[in-house]
């Protein structure tokens, strides 16, 4: 058993993960449940190429980066405490880039 997730980085956030927008990842099932907080740690260790502070700040995503879980604002879902489900689609959109 493992947890499969689709991650998507856009709006400039993809520049922080080797300029690749879509990442299909598999998280090992551990004794604890996977939350978005745990996913951010995993992203930091496994995907962020350089300058992780441009993505993660104070244990959460940097203000100005929007997060959606299955096309819903993570602010409705408990943010860092949200428990990930198999096949969740997580989107990170940077608003910090020019318009």
């Amino acid at each position: 058993m493992s947890l499969n997730l689709k991650l998507e980085f856009s709006g400039g956030a993809e520049l922080l993960v080797n300029k690749v927008k879509n990442h299909d990842i598999t998280l090992p099932i551990s004794s604890k449940l996977w939350t978005l907080r745990g996913l951010l740690d995993w992203i930091k260790d496994n995907l962020l190429a350089e300058r992780p502070e441009l993505f993660i700040q104070g244990g959460s995503v940097r203000p100005g980066i929007l997060v959606l879980v299955n096309d819903a604002d993570w602010e409705l879902l408990g943010e860092l405490e949200y428990e990930l489900q198999d096949n969740d689609h997580i989107v990170f959109i940077s608003t910090l880039h020019g318009g």
Partner: protein
């Protein structure tokens, strides 16, 4: 248990930063568009028959602006002639890509597109300017040239108004930057929804009260086609700090963005504060608080091989020009 829409009870997809309401997709679209409509009506931004140039960079704000302007023009029969107007600064690998996005927007929204280039208007591309001046003051050139370029492009297409995609976050950032710089004249101007009536075309900001988060969410859910890469020449550190500050404050208290704009609007300037007098440039006729406008000065510097001529404070520039005997 999914959170319900505050308006209709369906499954909510977003928490609005301005009101903290949870909303479903359809109610969010409606609220977002109606607020912009209300801004347009309350500030009387347009009159029927206006020819309006939408400053279009291919980025998120101007892409959403073009889409919403077209939708509202149709829904409420503003009777506006809408155009897309893009400025090609001549930055290889950046602007050429974003202009492709604007061309797709032209076809998707059926709006005519006019592109004006720095090369045609000034004889210099940004690539050429950077070769001359390096990466230190290049943004000064680009910013000053862009302001005039939008006006000139709008006049070429016989538009009588310009709209830009500046949003509430941008304006809050600018208020903070002008405070940090002590730039009283700009501090007073920067919260105005319409600027530039005397001598140049009126320029307005229908997104003045629209949060960046909502613009990006709207673009995401509507799957609008926009371009997001930072300019290759612009570290723009100063605005970057203001931007990070605004976002940090928004995280703690989302209304802060509107509150900062409100603070800017409410400032009144003491009578004894010296304000620059707006006149016109003796060379090109564009609005300027100096006898020669910044764009002409920068251009003179470039053309005479002294690219630093127009950089810095006017009184210092005057000194340099006196020494070198320029008129």
């Amino acid at each position: 248990m999914p959170v319900q829409c505050a308006a209709c009870g369906k499954k909510a997809i977003l928490k609005r930063p301005k009101t903290a309401d949870a909303m479903c997709r359809e109610c969010f679209y409606w609220a977002f568009e109606e607020e912009i409509h209300k801004t347009i009506i309350d500030a009387k931004l347009f009159t029927p028959g206006d020819k309006v140039a939408i400053g279009a960079s291919g980025g998120k704000d101007s892409t959403v602006l073009a889409y919403v302007m077209k939708a509202l023009n149709d829904r409420y029969n503003y009777r506006l002639d809408l155009y897309l107007l893009s400025v090609d600064e001549g930055i290889t690998g950046y602007r050429d890509d974003s202009l492709e996005t604007v061309k797709r927007n032209r076809d998707q929204y059926c709006l005519p597109l006019k592109i004006v280039s720095y090369e045609d208007l000034y004889g210099w591309t940004m690539d050429a300017i950077v070769k001359e001046i390096g990466l230190k003051n290049n943004c000064t050139f680009c910013g000053v040239f862009r302001r005039q370029a939008l006006d000139r492009g709008a006049m070429l297409t016989e538009c009588n108004k310009i709209v830009t995609g500046h949003n509430a976050d941008d304006i809050a950032e600018t208020v903070i930057m002008n405070i940090l710089r002590g730039d009283i004249a700009r501090l007073r101007r920067c919260t105005a929804i319409t600027t530039g009536q005397e001598g140049s075309l009126p320029r307005c900001k229908p997104f003045k009260y629209t949060y960046e988060k909502e613009i990006v969410m709207y673009a995401y859910f509507k799957k609008l086609d926009y371009f997001s890469t930072e300019c290759i020449y612009s570290p723009n550190a100063y605005r970057g700090y203001a931007r990070a500050f605004i976002k940090d404050v928004e995280k703690v208290r989302p209304s802060a963005i509107i509150d900062i704009i409100h603070s800017g609007e409410s400032l009144s300037i003491k009578k004894d504060v010296k304000m620059p007098v707006q006149g016109t440039c003796t060379r090109c006729g564009y609005v300027s608080s100096q006898d020669v406008c910044k764009a002409c000065l920068l251009l003179e510097g470039l053309n005479k091989g002294m690219p630093k001529l127009g950089i810095g404070k006017p009184h210092k520039v005057r000194k340099v020009r006196d020494i070198h005997g320029y008129v």
